[in-house]
Symmetry: C2
Subunit: 202 residues, 2 copies
Amino acid sequence: METRQSGPVGRPRGFDADEALERAMLVFWEHGYEGASLAGLTNAMGISTTSMYAAFGNKEELFRKALERYTEGPSAYLARALEEPAALGVATAVLAGVIRTTTRPAHPHGCMGVQGALASGDSGREVRDLLAAWRNNGCSRLRERFQRAVDDGDLEPETDPGLLARYVTTLAFGIAVQAASGVGREELQRMADAALRNWPIV
Amino acid sequence: METRQSGPVGRPRGFDADEALERAMLVFWEHGYEGASLAGLTNAMGISTTSMYAAFGNKEELFRKALERYTEGPSAYLARALEEPAALGVATAVLAGVIRTTTRPAHPHGCMGVQGALASGDSGREVRDLLAAWRNNGCSRLRERFQRAVDDGDLEPETDPGLLARYVTTLAFGIAVQAASGVGREELQRMADAALRNWPIV
DNA sequence: CGAATTTTGTATCGATCGATGCGGAAGTCG
DNA sequence: CGACTTCCGCATCGATCGATACAAAATTCG
């Protein structure tokens, strides 16, 4: 006797939720949280507002999920960079990753974590704080990685891991702003190379 | 016979336009172009929408004038820094100025030129481009200043002024993002000191 | 004074904002 | 089959958006 695969009860979804979330992420990335309208979002996602609310809750929840997707997708270079064996390699990989992601052709320029809601009106305050925490989290993970490098002897004992992390993230966020302004990939990479030439900056 | 001072014909303005513009600048600085509503702006300015439109044109014109005021006010450190005698002094003054302005207590954190409209919806596209040009102009003026330093022998002949300008502005924009995220003044200053310790970065 | 000019206060405009109500469509269950 | 559950298309909600119409108020000019 064959056990039939039992699908979920009710009418099945007429769209791919992952694909729709990817489209929403791109819209948020390009226009920011408040700059992305429900009409623009649902139009890009190819679904109606009803379907969006049923599947994702509301606009803010959609943004939160889009940010998670961004973190694990375009921004995954950070997690990979943290696994580099040496501190300099970590810093180099972070900057190279930021530059590649923020200047990719056919993708929005800049970083969603920076331009998603750097300043906002009342309706975007929570998302703005969420992104601030997202950025600070990136800095913290980098600091912890550099602390480990100090503990392992990769970095001199007197080096300040927090200062190095702040330096690298400041460059990363600055690169994101430059990319949003239209600055090209090659120029940014040359600048990043020079910025890490005297590593660690102490 | 006394010559009477002849004022402008018509009912005189009941508010100080400079003071109102200052208030509007602060609102744009804190909430960004699209995040600042007409109601919030006019409320902070202490005038009605009618008076705002009569005095400044419309929201976009108001922002342009607020940006000019920001350039000559909170952002005046750039013009002063360019007059420093040595290239290192210029870079040091730019970063110190950015840090002071973006972390001033009782003022909005961050830089109006960065968070005013880094990403935007359709209605903010022109302002977004205006700010991108504003940022690129800052980088260009810095590059010209470093070129002069090369010509004067202050910097080695083989140094790339454009690369140095891109480095300093990237740090400046990154600092603006960090300040918007709540990072403190002292930590940013320590980081900036370290970033310029190996000047010029070649 | 009265005519002309400009500003101000109030009230409101059409458009768009994010978010929902509702009935029919499309499936799984018994 | 009929009952049940879920999703979708359409219409629309109240609030807010930026922007104006209109008339009274306040000033200069003749």
